[in-house]
Symmetry: C2
Subunit: 178 residues, 2 copies
């Protein structure tokens, strides 16, 4: 039993036909037929009921379909994980020093959850400093206010931060209006 056989079987089972399944995995139809036939021979089980169209998994086939998807997913997961381990990625983020540290830490921690194996370096400074670092490739990305960054770099709005004007109570009463 090999992974490609599992892939082939899942393709046929999910598309409901050998022809469509073959197209999905980009091989010829007789090839996928032989592949599955060999799998059935090894396991000594009929995996698909070919009598009607669309072909439907047998009891054994249904079980393999379920387990096979998990196996392939495990393989892809570990494969992706190892590729990230390979490049001990370092993401250098420039953060505008006047930004709310609460929002920044929230963004960073959510990024940490999705992307493990990425070393994060945080540098704070003024908007001009950060853009300068970004231009010199000493930073990979910066977190700053809209309009403050150079037009040469792609931008994306992540969140909006409300600004409030705070004035003494008596000042408002003295001026008569806000």
């Amino acid at each position: 039993m090999e992974l490609y056989q599992i892939k082939h079987f899942i393709a046929v089972a999910e598309t409901g036909g050998f022809t469509k399944g073959a197209q999905r995995v980009a091989i010829s139809q007789p090839a996928i037929s032989a592949s599955i036939a060999k799998l059935e021979a090894e396991l000594d089980v009929k995996l698909l009921d070919r009598r009607r169209s669309p072909v439907v998994p047998t009891a054994a086939g249904a079980r393999l379909l379920e387990a096979g998807k998990n196996i392939l997913q495990s393989c892809n997961a570990v494969k992706a994980e190892l590729k990230t381990i390979a490049t001990p990625n370092r993401l250098r983020i420039g953060v505008l020093q006047s930004l709310s540290s609460r929002c920044v830490s929230r963004l960073l921690s959510s990024f940490r959850r999705t992307s493990v194996h990425v070393a994060i370096e945080v540098v704070d400074g003024s908007c001009e400093q950060l853009v300068e670092f970004l231009a010199e490739q000493e930073l990979d990305t910066v977190l700053t206010i809209v309009g403050g960054n150079d037009v040469n770099f792609a931008r994306r709005i992540l969140f909006e931060e409300p600004y409030l004007l705070a004035v003494p109570k008596d000042l408002a009463s003295r001026s008569g209006k806000v």
Copy 2:
């Protein structure tokens, strides 16, 4: 990435050498070396630190070792499961009709837990009838009392059942002894 590559890698990682690993999976040493080299090339990661003997997995290798064993185990598990599904086994049990149904049901339910995918047929009858059915291969096994079955069949004692003699109270006092 294929299953055989994972098997090869695990063999080398666990035996601590390419030569020993090759022996475990019964291929030549250069073959397993090439197999793992190809895997490393695909994943773009060094999986083994070959500098010293025994060879030791890198960080990525350790991760693959762990995940790979799970993947292989999943494969073997589903493989074995499908093989049992393949033969919709029918176990025909003859049960001595005078046996305590409580003991019998307890045995059957414990068997059910260990062996799924086995259809159980229960036939009761006298000891002689059951042995007759067993001889004619109309039953696979019988559950009866010791000494009651033919010497041609293998026997095994499963449990012992106490027998009690119940007599009226006045009968005991009249006879003067039990």
